[in-house]
Amino acid sequence: MGFSDSLYARKFGLTPRDLERYLAEALSRGGDYADLYFEYVESTSLSLDESIVKSATQGVTLGVGIRVLSGERTGYAYSGDLSPERVLKAARTAACIAAGPSTVLKSGLDESGRLDLYPVPVPAADCSLAERVALITRADTAARAADSKVFQVMASFADSIKQILIATSDGRLVWDRQPMARLNVTALARAADGRVEHGYQGGGGRVGLDHFTSQNLPEKFAAEAVRQALVQLDAEPAPAGEMTVVLGPGWPGILLHEAVGHGLEADFNRKNVSAFSGRIGQLVASPLCTVIDDGAMASRRGSLNVDDEGTPTQQNVLIENGVLRGYLQDKLSSRLLGSATTGNGRREDYQNIPMPRMTNTYMMAGESDPDEIVRSVPNGLYCTTFGGGQVDITSGNFVFSATESYLIENGKLTRPVRGATLIGNGPEAMKFISMVGNDLRLDEGVGICGKEGQSVPVGVGIPTVKIDKITVGGNA
């Protein structure tokens, strides 16, 4: 498909000449580089509780963000109005950051290649609303039927299509269509003694509706949400203090996101404010650990054909056999550090400046049998579901909160225990990983990562791992 077939040419009549004119205006006061990021997003969200579809919302947002780089300085402006006068005004505002001679604009824009990770012939947005409503009503019915202790079910479905166009002063022109869909189910269950607990399951990715009607059925989401709520009704207080913890496969990969991922974002390292600054080539994890960030995986929530600066995504090795290999780069950091780009320049939307971010972050499978890992623990905790996490990238201290855990006693899972936060220090905690399972699993597609006020969708994954020592914040 050529540029003339893109949404921006068809719907808004943009031509490569217009884009060149805007870029020239952005560099009119000097600067090393400028780019334009156009974004058009159509979204729908439907939600149900008490078996009633109470909320149905659709919307469209549109805008362009214009950036000028001059040394370490970034000038940024945006407009929600694509009329040439408004775009030129934004370009002039962004240009104010620069002073001095401009790097000559490469003449002409070349249409750049990109991956094709999420073809999605029929995106959810093109399916009827009734088909989408059916997903949440099915989830509701299944959750209510699953157990008589369930007294409240909330289900929601959200989908969007984001169409982006990026033009850069180094001559790159690229566009992409980025679908996203997600189903969420929350169940509340009440025990005979009146105690109430909730369970949650969500999932999706850069997929169409068929994702939820072929394998990842709403009934599976419902069963999992109910299962979690029922387990919590039986849970006792979690233990407190340092102990051996086994993480189950999949979403517990949030450990990698918090313990190492953020600390490896190049902006923090360029500024020497990360606990990982200056540690490339050093051992920062057990030799059993190889950690990857890969934006080029098919259909996943954190995947992108090109990042939000137009760079194709790729598989990046962050930690190889315990040794720190590289940082996550955006254009500015890679230029200032003299490193190759990695396709990790991302932004929440056209109103925000891109920065180095994770995509899909996971640990490679090891060789241990997961059952054997649990059997090897005389006394400890097995954590299989997590809520959120957070990290102080400067000290390296990170937390992530388990929502489903079991005591391990004499190599066996015994009683469920209630929510507990795990805390550790990034460059140190992963040195205590003593076993890595052969069961790498990726999460269901629910991750949202926040940094400096910007949220972006991400994925995580991990096999079963054993951490010999980490602090568990229980209350027993």
Binding site: I52, K54, S55, G75, V196, V273, T394, T471, N475
Partner: protein, 451 residues
């Protein structure tokens, strides 16, 4: 009512379009904002951002069916498309017997100037804002030779409009402004790096703390963290400094929203009138105090703002409700409707604060023989359904009534219900910094997990 400005005109126009399309009721919101942000790092401007945006939303009812839509295209065609989209969505939603607008008699707006907007913010020159950020960072860097790095200092300013109209004849709008200045210095000690921050935010420029003060305060907070280590696992009294104590008030808010209460997804559901906190604890939600961040003339359904006691002398007095959750619970709205520009209203708060006590923070610290003084909390380990609480923490250890060595990489845990009952002292150091405020709190006993 006659629109008084272009913002109200758009909101009124949307309601007219919705009613013309046959909606039995409708409401429309217009939001408009301009933002400026500059970040300075090690004395040099790093980023400069300036822009404005507008968006509108509609929520309409056909009988008891609801549909919503939003757009950033405010042309007549754009608004018409948005209304058509919402009308289509109403067809696929289910009849909800409780859906609706507030009663007409409940609508209204607080009179007088609430000091939400100050032209002082709009009139600031970019060069001045850059200098303020520079001065703030310089003060932090100059405070101590161990502070050698920084994540930068930022000056931000925002101005905006919000207009709301509904088919019962409500039409209102207000303009607001804010500015903020913050800095994040970084220091190295033998065993690694630490950072901390300080900030100030205000609706008018003259209420902003001085750059030098903010820089010094950030430096003080940072320096006392250097050399932090883990503490032993134990049960001890825990003091929350005002910056982290605010999160306790935030958790109470989450637990008293109408949604959490009628869904029974709250540890405070069903406890109205009962003692849920220590005697003397009073938490107010006041959206009427001029110039504060939680203040507005009306909520996002057009119901006038007010002051609602949530907890009085330890007793749970009120839930915070919008018109929907009020109908669900058989109560009256408390004017706490909140939303972006569209959708069913959720619950928001005004200036939500815990009333100050008599003791100075120093007196409270001196009352603790062995305990933890918390200056930072990490993570989201709070379960509003059952009150379970477990979060990462950093701060200072208290020995014999004195702050001694810095602590980090620990968690504090308990249960919110017990924590509220075990508040043993409340400081006199209440400061309104944002829309949630709390003085220093002493919680009788929590579990500290460390080594």
């Amino acid at each position: 009512m006659t629109p008084r400005n272009p913002q109200e005109e758009i909101a009124a126009r949307i309601v007219a379009l919705a009613q013309a399309r046959g909606a039995t009721a409708s409401e429309a919101t217009l939001a408009e904002g301009d933002e400026f942000e500059v970040n300075v790092r090690l004395g040099e401007v790093e980023t400069l951002k300036e822009a404005g945006s507008r968006a509108a939303g509609v929520r309409l009812l056909f009988g008891q069916r609801v549909g919503s839509a939003y757009t950033s295209d405010l042309s007549e065609e754009g608004l018409a498309r948005m209304v058509a989209s919402a009308a289509g969505l109403a067809q696929i939603s289910t009849e909800d017997p409780f859906a609706g607008l507030p009663d007409e008699a409940e609508l209204g707006s607080l009179p007088g100037d609430l000091l939400l907007y100050s032209s002082s913010v709009e009139n600031l020159e970019a060069a001045y804002k850059i200098e303020q950020a520079r001065a703030c960072e310089a003060a932090a860097l100059a405070a101590d030779p161990r502070i050698t790095n920084s994540e930068g200092a930022g000056f931000g300013s925002n101005t905006g409009w919000r207009a709301f109209a509904n088919s019962l004849g409500f039409l209102g709008s207000y303009r607001s402004s804010s500015c903020s200045l913050s800095v994040v210095p970084v220091a190295a000690s033998g065993d690694g790096l630490q950072r901390d921050y300080w900030y100030s935010t205000a609706r008018s420029h003259d209420k902003l703390e001085a750059p030098e003060y903010i820089g010094k305060k950030a430096a003080e907070r940072l320096l006392r963290r250097l050399g932090a280590r883990k503490a032993a696992t134990q049960k001890v009294p825990v003091i929350l400094d005002p910056i982290v104590a605010r999160s306790m008030v935030g958790h109470v808010f989450s637990a008293v929203t109408g949604e959490a209460v009628w869904q029974k997804a709250s540890f405070l559901a069903g406890l109205l009138g009962e003692r849920i906190a220590a005697p003397g604890i009073t938490i107010l939600d006041d959206a009427t105090m001029p110039g504060l961040f939680g203040t507005s003339p009306f909520d996002d359904e057009g119901v006038p703002s007010r002051c609602t006691p949530v907890v009085e002398d330890g007793y749970l007095r009120n839930y915070l409700l919008n018109s929907y959750t009020a109908r669900k619970l058989g109560m009256k709205t408390t004017g706490n409707a909140s939303r972006g520009v569209t959708g069913n209203a959720g619950t928001g708060h005004g200036t939500l604060y815990l009333q100050p006590g008599e003791q100075t923070p120093e007196q409270i610290i001196s009352s603790v023989k062995n305990g933890l003084y918390v200056t930072e909390l990490l993570g989201s380990g709070v379960n509003i359904v059952n009150g379970d609480y477990s979060r990462g923490a950093a701060g200072l250890w208290i020995e014999n009534g004195q702050l001694t060595w810095p602590v980090h990489e620990i968690t504090i845990s308990g249960n919110l219900r017990r924590m509220l009952e075990q508040i043993e002292a409340v400081g006199n150091d209440l400061e309104f910094r944002g829309s949630v405020a709390c003085p220093t709190l002493l919680i009788g006993e929590m579990t500290v997990s460390g080594h």
